[in-house]
Amino acid sequence: MISLDFLAKKFNSFEQVLESKFSSYKDLLTSEEKSTLESTYQSLLKIYGETEDPWGLSVPKAKKSFEILYTIYRHYFKVRLFGKENIKNEQYMVISNHSGQIAIDGLMIGCAFAFENEPPRVLRLMVERFFTALPFINKWSSECGAVLGDRDNCLNLLKRGESLLIFPEGVRGVSKSTTNYYKVQEFTPGFFRMALKSGVKILPVAVVGAEEIFPYVYQASAVAKILKLPALPISANYFPLPSPIDIHVGKPIELPEDIDADSEDSLINPHIREIERVIQSMLTEGRKTRRPWAFSKKMNEDNGDE
């Protein structure tokens, strides 16, 4: 009969094997990057503490994930951050275009705010409802700071002084067809009403380069419906391609004073369209300076300068 001790030991050794596999990533980091990583970790520990918060964020538990994500950020997607000077030491609702079919853009924006910003911060990434029911993913994402994109959750987090990362395009953003790459889809209005309610400034962000990580082939809507998924884009590959990513941070958007969270759609919508326009123009500008890469070169030729 298998004893409990035997099972516990087996599990521990499995964890150790995983740990050793992951730690080999660290060899890619330069000594300067390693010291950035360590000092960021120490700062985050001071800010967020050693214990878990009510949403499950735990800086000590997320340490390993931070190391892996930072390595990917630096050496796989070779992320460049522009407009860093626009990020002040205050609370923001970060609003970005969404792309890439799997939310790697969210992870990279999170890394930028954690590792390239002083003081570092964990952006609370809003995730879809189906995401929180997924085994392992739920646990890992909560430890790293992701939370269910629910209105009450957002308002409670804002009340506690946390900064949020929201993709108001939602599923429309990640399931874009090739012809719509880098075209901002219509934003849902919830984020703006929450900003008005909490008084937290909006910080626009544009991500260039994430669309090509998983090249789009087909949107399997019928299968997604059966599996109760919001979307199921079929990609040419399921291993992320190393498309270089640029993150552009715009100037904070001041909230209008003549409307409030309960104002009619007709008063709210023009402001939302304006934020869409700001992010669209950041994307268009950003594409001009992006680094050449197989897919992006072709895309730029096809789409011209929109």
Partner: protein, 314 residues
Amino acid sequence: MNNKRSILIIGASGGLANILCGILAKRMPDARIIGIDSRKMKNEVDFDNYTFHRMRYTRRNFEKLFRENRFESIYQIGRITPPGGSAEERLSFSLVNTSKVLELAEKYLIKKFIMLSTYHVYGAQPDNPVFINEDYPLKVSIKHPELRDVTEIDALCTNWMWKNRENIETVVLRPCNIIGPQIDNTISRYLTSNMTPVPIDFNPMMQFIHEYDMANILFQALDKIPTGVYNVAPSETISLQEAKKITGTRDIPFPVFTLEVLSKAIRKIWPFPSYFIDFVMYSCIIDNTKIHQYIPEDIYQYNCRKTLSLIRKG
């Protein structure tokens, strides 16, 4: 019959009620405290102003108790919790008993009715917001009909509360996980057992309240908390895996999403209530803002880690 303040505790044999009886008897020496239960009293409450009666709530002598004592306040703490009894038995017992108590409370013009519900009424769901407030729908019985008794009693008392709000102050308390040396509930057994699986694929955040703190809040509810429904939980939260570490049990790592099937297959020999699997997968964190408008936040004598370490085995 004298003019002493008279308080009835229904379900007085339970661990929590037992502590409450002691607190009431000690802190209110001029009041008459009467505990009733259909079970034997586990630990004697050694105060002259405390009396225990073993009886069923549906019998005729139950009303006699009301007639002779003219209760000013009632605590309804007794109910069968899963996995005890079948779902039908629990529903029938809880509803019949609670309706009888409410009927007598109205008839004999009591002033305060305090009902102990549970945070289980909200249900642990993947789409729960963190900090569920009292207005959140009671969703647990949608997925788990076996918990219908829990939501039905809560709803019954809440409706009764609004109907009688002019004459009777009614307080419905929905506490988080109550644990302590006297409490023998599902979560305590889960935390202190070496034979229960610990999820490797989920790690929900949880709230724990020490039995003494909960009893103290029940006591405070008598004079300090007005009519309404209140969540009861300390502000501190802790993940399930951390909690298991503190209670010092040996872990059996397990992908918990397979548990539901397993629990159905071996239900006869493994009394692991299927609803409880949701609570070890998804967070159900309640908002304590409303109750702390009336009682201070520093009422808790035990923090989360201390509370858990007190039930540590060995």
